[in-house]
Amino acid sequence: MPSSLVTGNSLLAIDVGAANTRAVLFDVIEGEYRFVASGSAPSTAEAPIRDVSEGARNAIEHLQSILQRKMLDSSRDLILPSQTDGSGVDGLVVTISAGPSIKTVVVGLLKDVSLESARRLTESTYARILDTISLSDQRKPDQQIDSLLRTRPELIVIAGGTDGGASRSIQKLLEPIGLASYLMPAEKRPAVLFAGNEKLAGDIKTLVGSLASSLHFSPNIRPSLDIEDLDPAERELAHMVVTIRKKSLKGVELLDLWAGGHTLPTAYATGRMVRFLSNVYGSQKGAILSVDLGASSMVVSAGFKNKSVLKVFPQFGIGENLTGLLNYTTIEDILRWSPLDIPSSVILDYLHQKAMYPATIAATKEDLVIAQSVAKQAMYLAMQTARRDFPKDAAVIKPYLTPLFDPIIAGGGILSDASHPGQGLLLLLDTVQPVGISTVILDQNNLLPLLGVAASQNNILPVQVLESGAFLSVGTIVSPVVSAKYGTSILRAKLVYESGVEAQVELKYGSLETLPLAIGETGKLSIQVSHGADIGFGPGRGSKDIQVSGGALGIVFDGRGRALDLPSDPVRRRELIKKWNWTLGGG
């Protein structure tokens, strides 16, 4: 290893979540950055405290007690930079996902073009789209004004006009927005992002500049009809979200001050890390997927060869928005994931109670089964929705299935808190439904977004922490795409360990199998398929001597078919789910 480039700066990262706030310390150990420890405390965005800095201080105090290292002074302010007595830290970065979804109105010229791009842009952050305005809107301008005054958006995202293209139409669309903003009290006016025809910047300033709480510009997200470029606008939007949170959540301003402006929305920071990983490792391993199931939202971030996709779904979060889940699904669809026979009324009550107390956790086995069934359906819906925006040229085995992802990184409370990695893995297999060969990594300390925001202050830290083993390798997953009768042999595999010892497995349709391969070990995997099964090399084609890495569950073979088709008979389905849980050690 070459001598370290690191100058010895410690970095504290704070993640303010809807339910919990975490304080994570990174420091230099033996010349390289390492994840040192993590402290946590309940978040305090809500009443009665209503100050997120209190939860952050409590999390830092927890971290102090773990490390026996002083980071807060007698006034409970962060000691910055570190002192000669070893107290304090050299830098702070912050990510935030706490707070209600940001009320947003999306404006675009054409419904299927710029409006659609503006919607996709808005879905990259913690926003709830309350209204859309486009040229095809049948409402009169005064009705649009009334709608804006009723919804009182905190954010308006405007797109439209190809560069050098139409300008009068977009001006017409903006008139109701300017008038509605004019009628709102100054402190309630929305922030406006214009991501359309760049030549209109001057007109936009004239029309809404003095009437918006703040006006922001980004490069055109739809510079031509067939090109969409969301990345620069996503960055601008991320900074706007932090500004909105500073106004609406007490304590964000203070944390951002301590962090010297290095604050990002958690989802954006995750997306940034996935983009980075995709650039560094993408060419070797294909597209990268990160899923994070949190109380405030479900975040899906995918890095493809030339494009990244970041989707934030507050409607599928497993916290305060849970009662709204039934707008997108049914109780029967939630129950299909349950290994226990649970009455639908219990699920309905659970959704309401959990929405009322989002930070509470499952204490009993039955409650955990319910929580995981709900989480599975939420994640399943989020993946199905996110897939619509994956690039058309993404590598796939079948166009209607999940693209080929490797690795898949999973984070969020329900995954990282699972009592056994097998429970978390089954949740991923059931909902993401990966195809081909993928490695699954569990972000058990939810470090990914923190590394994403840390990169803005220290670009060596994320790389060194990633390579330090701070993430838990769950294993290598082999998921053949095949159609066969239940119980038919579809795959035979041979694993040759470094020691030369061999292990073999036969996978039957409808089952899960594992081969042990411990964390840190490698092996060579040879696979023979039958019945036209496709593991990414083409139908019926196996492969020899694939280099595979170990993990907590070794090599997992998922022979349950893609798309996963659960038996309609509830008794048989529940027995199978129990068996699959048992196979993966989840009990």
């Binding site: 009443a47 405290i49 004004i145 008038l179 009550d349 309401h352 109670q353 107390y357 204490a363 808190d417």
Partner: protein, 351 residues
Amino acid sequence: MLAPVHHVIGFTTIIRERVLPVSGHVTARLQQKVTAGDVVAEARWAREHVLLDVARILGVSPAMADRLIKCKVDDQLSATAEIAIGKGLFPRTVRAPREGRVVAAGGGQVLMEVGEAKIELRAGIPGTVTQILPNRGVVIQTSGALIQGVWGNGRADSGILVNLIEAPDTVLTPGRLDVSLRGSVILGGIIKDMDALQAVADLPARGLIASSLHPSLLQKARETRLPILLTEGVGVLPMNSAAYKLLTTNAKREVTVNAEVYDRYAGTRPEVIIPLPISSEPPMPREVETFAPGLQVRMRRPPAMGMIGSIIAIKPGLTVLPSGLRAPAAEVKLENGETVTAPLINMEVVG
């Protein structure tokens, strides 16, 4: 670890801020005694707007239209009032389509607000106005018993509390309701069916305090004009014993049901207030506690959801729960004598 507090207190000082959603006029006076139904502030709110594109209607440029427009901002116009008259032999006239106020004029257009509605802000709780918030609302102080709920339908009213439950898990049936209950606040139990809810609305009662409500009745409860407050939540949940004892012992007293919608960020919660005479001002309730042995807690998740217990010991470090999850936990002796280990995050202090 900090603990949220669920207030069920026999005697306390209650201070509440009541604020208009838009700027308006405060009608209450400092030190005025108010009842829950008294109006303390009011505001006017335009429900609709009308945008008149004068330039387009008259077929002139915006600059020319601005010169022809006769009204200015804040002018009150009657329906058909002249807004602008065009030029020529047969000039066209632009008239106000409805009565309203001009809120913007320029660029060849006139924007009017029409369909003005009056918003009345009621006190919500009985007490004394201790602070005027200019153009926004008031602060009201009172003393008495305070019972917080977890769900409210956004309405408030007062009346004599009538107890219709024999036990915390009593189910309210229409047969228990008769005309003698008209105008009272009903202490019901579990509401399982539409008939019971409809019967309360039909009386009409001045309020309903229930432990829980079937999820299918939520929409109806939201639309019902009388205040409805749930002490436990949605489902089939018996009333917690602390609320049950305090409410049943105060039957036949005047109570206020302020069934505010629970807003976790603003801190508003539905509550029952029972004003009581005071000789000296009781202490204010504590909003945050720290979990410690001896504290009375309410369980927010299974096992024993909704039950009250007393913390025996806080477990050190993380405890492996029956679910397999690990979390800071405490041993709690429940009121039925059973002892359970539960995560701290699933409890709230009662007091």
